[in-house]
Symmetry: C2
Subunit: 197 residues, 2 copies
């Protein structure tokens, strides 16, 4: 990697941490300069605008988040075990996720829905990939007769993601892990109920 | 109500709609001027700062949200019916709620958690009132032997609020009501499962 690429990557990483905590609208150019230790020119050398940096930072954050799941799922067999791995991985997020400020998909969904069409579209795509990961696990589970055939794979994706993201919001609002623990227990039980008995 | 009070209330209402869509950091003084049709001086006549207006606007939005539930619950008897009323009221929110931009508690929780201690505390209190409303219904339901005694009222509050808020996030991200419908079906089923059989 060239020195310029290294600098660019470092800016993206530091901006991702900043944006994920303060939001895109809430992060000024001075905040970005303070977070990266660079002058305005040093940042504009690599990005044409704050928006271009925001998009690169979101892509990086979303990829970091998605990689955690792919790693955790490696070697895990069986639909129920794989769904539980996703639930478990999410519920340990606040401590272990490399980017501060919670889930970048949740944060950017809330911030961009009424204001930023490009980031909204990016978030839709990243969230779709997550929904689709769950959809595929459930679909395969039905094919392999591990999961009841009446189960709707898309509905499982909605319930898992809604409950996890909502409980993360409560956990971060109160600084109290109990909400994510309750969500984990509830979803583990829900997922067990999908099994062919 | 005096003319000054009327103007102040109108500013609060219009600012609540603006902040709930664009966020506090994302709403500039010019945005507030455009939304209210007032000059800067006209706004500063009633509020010492953007922050003071932000807090008044949040209080107004949170009160509007809470009133919807209190109205919907009037005359509803029985813990299961009352919990289902809350779920139903929430799942019709995007169309019927008087303030645009989704749930002010969710939006402000996400925006303020890392950035705005006063708004965060306001959101904690408003969210606590909502959690407590659900807690009290479940507690009474256990006392009246409608709900199983092993059920934890606080856990029910966490699951209902997490799933509803998370599904609202998905519904607004994709402009698709299906996510809230799925959450409603899931929670109706969950709540039915708490009943003494």
């Amino acid at each position: 990697m060239s020195k310029a690429e290294e600098t660019k990557n470092r800016i993206i990483q530091q901006a991702a941490n900043l944006f994920n905590q303060q939001g895109y609208a809430g992060s000024s150019m001075s905040d970005i300069m303070a977070a990266t230790g660079l002058k305005k020119g040093g940042i504009y050398n690599h990005f044409a605008s704050k928006d271009e940096l925001a998009i690169a930072a979101f892509d990086f954050a979303a990829q970091q988040a998605s990689q955690r799941y792919l790693w955790a799922l490696k070697g895990k067999r069986g639909a129920i075990a794989r769904l539980k791995t996703i639930i478990h991985t999410f519920s340990t997020s606040p401590d272990e996720f490399s980017i501060k400020g919670g889930c970048p998909l949740l944060n950017t969904a809330i911030e961009s829905d009424d204001t930023h069409p490009v980031l909204r579209e990016k978030t839709q795509t990243a969230m779709y990939q997550w929904r689709n990961l769950i959809h595929q696990i459930v679909k395969k589970g039905i094919e392999r007769e591990e999961i009841q055939p009446k189960v709707d794979p898309d509905a499982v994706a909605t319930i898992l993601i809604s409950t996890m993201e909502g409980s993360l919001m409560l956990t971060r609002l109160y600084g109290d892990r109990i909400h994510m623990q309750r969500a984990k227990e509830h979803l583990d039980h829900y997922v067990e109920g999908l099994q062919v008995s």
